[in-house]
């Protein structure tokens, strides 16, 4: 790229930045820096970005978080900084909450709860969570969306599209179209709490016979598209178990493995964003962890059953060093026109992700790597190589699995779990059969009122 082109792009970015709000400015400034210079202090910039973003709430924060989960879009240092943002959103104050609740449930909304805590207990995607008690004495988590999110999301998505189109102009080797589409779809979905409620019901159905996993019940009478009321699950944050005995940490990791892989292998359903904040440890009477609470269902993905077949095929291909099988699997995943070099690059990534599942021994997910860095550098390398040997269109499914695998691996690293992941995976795969997965999925979706997946795609 010539200096003249750089200057022109910087001009475009700065115009974009002026159009955007404070946060857009920060994103644009960083993006401009990233596009234009090659030697930069990522950590300092990340801190700057984090500071700018942390004072804002709403979808742009979510965009930042999503961007942080996509390898290559932002370097690891950014990802680390952006990952901290969730807890920093300023809460809606009580007068505001009352108005919002009245808008969702009517002016007498308070009479529909025994009690309702004025202070938010936690930030949530595009909203905040209040603790309450139902008139039946059940503890509740009431997730209330910030106001006017639908229009804010659309405005932000327009800005994001601009950012992505600039990115593509700068860097045509990797096609981010599907990534941009995924972010847009994800944000629009997160607006729809009714959809999340259906996903919760789906998970309750899919994991009904797994006693070590708790999923809240949705209170339909107290829920709308922008208000999600569900049972409050008591638990402790997983981050508090770092120094607990290995057996406890392993127990949590085993439950985590089941919570993620079981729905995938049996129903072709995944939790697309398995980070620490979406789970808590369930405690028994003596205060020891005896299971896992699943808390967030804003990012559930339902795949065609054959995609599970692709994931299993890739696993088996790697297991038996069967290149033809591996290539077939990538095609099922949605990669098109792969040459040998691209296949070799993808194999680096696949072997990294599948590594713990391929080795029949007790091990950690990755020794000596921090949760925030897990997978990111590898992904960075692979994505860079894909650019050089590409261009290649990255299928959405790859983005989901990529992100989920990194998130899941991060949790295992955080817990310092030492398990035979190979055996756990093979238990989940026991009696795996695509037709059965399809049938189970259809039945579950029908039971919880979600439109069926078109399995013939």
């Amino acid at each position: 790229m010539t200096r003249r082109e750089e200057a022109s792009l910087a001009g475009q970015l700065s115009r974009y930045a002026r159009v955007g709000a404070g946060m857009g400015t920060a994103v644009a400034r960083v993006a401009a820096g990233r596009l234009i210079s090659s030697e930069r202090d990522f950590e300092a910039e990340a801190k700057l970005l984090g500071d700018a973003l942390g004072s804002l709430k709403g979808p742009l924060m979510k965009v930042a978080q999503l961007m942080a989960t996509i390898p290559d879009l932002l370097p690891a240092e950014y990802a680390e900084e952006l990952a901290k943002l969730q807890s920093h959103a300023p809460p809606m104050g009580w007068p505001f909450v009352r108005r919002r609740m009245a808008a969702e449930l009517g002016p007498d909304w308070e009479s529909r709860f025994l009690s309702f805590e004025r202070e938010a207990a936690a930030a949530a995607s595009l909203g905040q969570v209040h603790r309450a008690v139902s008139l039946a004495g059940e503890p509740l988590a009431v997730k209330l969306q910030y106001p006017d999110m639908a229009s804010a999301v659309e405005a932000d998505l327009r800005q994001l599209q601009l950012l992505f189109s600039l990115h593509r102009r700068m860097d045509p080797a990797i096609d981010t179209t599907e990534i941009a589409e995924e972010i847009a779809a994800r944000l629009r979905e997160e607006l729809d709490y009714d959809r999340e409620a259906r996903h919760i019901r789906l998970y309750r159905d899919v994991l009904a016979d797994v006693p070590e996993i708790s999923i809240p019940a949705v209170d339909d009478a107290l829920s709308t598209r922008r208000l999600l009321t569900m049972g409050w699950l008591d638990g402790r944050r997983l981050t508090e178990f770092k120094d607990h005995p290995l057996a406890e940490r392993n127990g949590l990791a085993r439950a985590m493995f089941k919570a993620w892989w079981r729905p995938f292998c049996s129903h072709a359903v995944i939790h697309g964003d398995p980070h620490l904040g979406n789970y808590t440890a369930r405690l028994d009477g003596s205060g020891r962890p005896d299971g896992l609470n699943l808390l967030d269902f804003g990012c559930i993905r339902i795949f065609p059953a054959r995609f599970v077949g692709g994931v299993v095929e890739l696993y088996r291909g790697l297991q038996h060093d069967d290149r033809a099988r591996v290539v077939g699997a990538y095609e099922i995943w949605g990669f098109k026109g792969l040459g040998n070099e691209l296949i070799d690059i993808l194999n680096i990534w696949a072997r990294f992700i599948y590594g713990p599942l391929l080795e029949d021994r007790v091990r950690t997910i990755a020794d000596g790597i921090s949760p925030a860095h897990y997978g990111r550098r590898e992904a960075f390398q692979v994505h860079r190589a894909l650019k050089e040997k590409g261009p290649v269109r990255v299928p959405r499914e790859f983005v989901f699995m990529d992100r989920a695998a990194i998130g899941l691996g991060g949790v295992f690293i955080h817990l310092g779990a030492e398990l035979n992941f190979h055996r756990l995976f093979n238990e989940a795969l026991e009696r795996f059969d695509i037709a059965e997965v399809r049938a189970r999925q259809e039945q579950s979706l029908a039971r919880v009122g979600i439109e069926p997946m078109d399995n013939r795609q």
Partner: protein, 301 residues
Amino acid sequence: MAELTHAPYAGAAPPMAIGLKALDLAEWIEPDEHLAAELAEKERLLEERHSEVYAERPDSRPAQEEVLALLVEHLPRVHPDIYRRDGSRIHVIPAAVSVDIDKPQEPPLQCASRLVQEDLVLMARGSSGWQLAAASLCFPSTWVLAEKFGRDMDGIHEPVPGYAEHIGPRLLRIFDNLQVERPVWRLNWSIYDSPELYAPRRRPGPRVWLRDGVVADANCFIRVERQTLRKLPATGFILFTIKVLLDPLAALGRHPEGPRLANGLKAQLQQLDAAQLAYKGLVESRDLLVAALSRYEAASA
């Protein structure tokens, strides 16, 4: 005459659900046409069976004062045609009685109880939960004040099926989270073979219907409790009021919605599990009652 004013058995809620609703304070106390008779019965019980219908812990006196003050303010304001204040006396007009609210030797809760059909129970938060700290309980539905006095919720509700596993933790949460500004109320129902309001224990021997082989209108009563829970702003005690409504089964035949109510009650009876049937004393009687209710359902067809 108002009959079957409250019919908790006719809704969609499962039998024995906690089923709280927000209470509009204008409806806190619900005097009806039985006021005079029930106040007279209270006087008799307080006279003849005082130790069985009244108990208090000394530390409950400030809360008792608070209850009396709330009622003295509430009753003449909300029900001016029934209650009139005259200095230290409250006149209960339909009952032609007047209650001295400033009698130093009378416990305030007992004095308050002589104004209303409702029984009044004060609960206090202790280290192990909420305890029964004082009560004027003239119309108990199969519970004995002396056995529950001073005990916490677990002790009070011991015989309730499913209490330890499901109901206990929820009840504790309800009491702990009850807000001063948001009182609540609920209803429950049972079937008695006697019209007596004072019913601390089931009458000995089998239910009347079992002897007769048929449920006759004359010896079958739907007993509904209307309960309110209100957290007292000054003392933090919880006031639990219980009003008993007793209607003969025959009222179903007179009520415009009798068939629907009969259908609801029948459905609830059929839903009761073994433990719930035992708790309500209906193990041997259910089928007879269901048959009797079918007759009232059929009346509409």
